[in-house]
Symmetry: C2
Subunit: 204 residues, 2 copies
């Protein structure tokens, strides 16, 4: 109902089906788009600058951090990964909702710098199901599976700090949940102050 | 996702299409039901006790007010109209969402006694449209139309105190909005504390 979009942050432990849900979600929601992340790692074959990532030099990335232009970032295997404020602003200023798929620590940083953001956490139906899903991938060693399950347990503690939780038990239900959250969040009174003022005639 | 239902309060000035939206809404949402109001007025032909209203004597109604069993009430043309706490509790304890269609003052009272309630306000696209809709009914005098428009202006000021606002510009969109609000509200973190605890294993 408002012209400006909303920043949605989506987090989930590995194995919760976050990517599958979001893929289906984007087929049915045409007013939201991914905020493209920035990285200092080299592009892989087929990766397009500005589409898959904003590819930056380490120098550029650090200078953007210094200038307050990076909402959150992390270092992994010697490379920086992060979210440029501009990526989010460009989307929401064009009236689209921005979706950021990031892990829990990054989400908490977004919350601080973007208090209007709406945070969604995807939960597995149970820890047992999650462990079985990770095992089902069959690409990981038993040790790796235990490690990921423990990592998931740590991440689940952060669900408390999110605005919405979606349990991914049935994919279609989870996608419907996600669609409803995006729609309903726009109708929350705090986001409609202008509309209320316009309609009640206070602005005429 | 939780076993207990949610109390939803829906308010709108006359002419905003509240009844039409709710009728369509109830065709598509099967987990919500109206909380039946209580009144001391005599049943009209065809009205069934416990379905259209809980018909009470004035003595009964007053005694329930004294016992704190009435969430909100009003007197109109010498009769009492109100919401029994039991009507709401019976629905939400059975896992259904309860819908209360009441005016703004009553809604504010519900908020005080039922802080978990979710309040939805339906807005007209503009005051001009509202006035035209009231005029379109053609059953009212010009004076009555002016009176209702002024009444609507007063009521619109209360929209600020609701959780969600839905603009009824297009009926189908407004119904979709309502469905989304009911679905998303269940996913709000505050309503899912138990689920988070259960899944993160804190309760095992």
């Amino acid at each position: 109902m408002e012209n400006k979009g909303i920043l949605f942050v989506v987090s989930a432990p590995a194995g919760c089906g976050k990517d599958t849900i979001l893929n289906e979600f984007f087929k049915r929601n045409k007013t939201a788009g991914y905020a493209v992340s920035a990285t200092t790692r080299a592009p892989r074959e087929g990766e397009v600058n500005g589409v898959h990532y904003h590819f930056l030099t380490v120098e550029d990335f650090k200078s953007k951090i210094g200038a307050g232009e990076v909402l959150e970032y992390t270092e992994y295997c010697g490379n920086y990964y992060g979210t440029l404020k501009k990526s989010v602003d460009d989307l929401i200023n064009s009236g689209k909702d921005a979706v950021l798929k990031i892990e829990v620590e990054g989400a908490m940083n977004i919350r601080k710098k973007f208090p209007d953001a709406c945070l969604i956490f995807i939960l597995p139906p149970s820890l047992e199901v999650l462990e079985n899903r990770l095992r089902g991938r069959a690409t990981e060693t038993e040790e790796k599976i235990k490690e990921r399950t423990n990592q998931a347990k740590t991440e689940l503690k952060f669900a408390e700090n999110y605005d919405y939780v979606i349990v991914n038990d049935d994919l279609n239900e989870a996608v419907e949940d996600m669609l409803s959250v995006f729609r309903a969040e726009k109708l929350r009174k705090q986001r409609c102050e202008e509309i209320i003022k316009n309609i009640s005639g206070e602005k005429h």
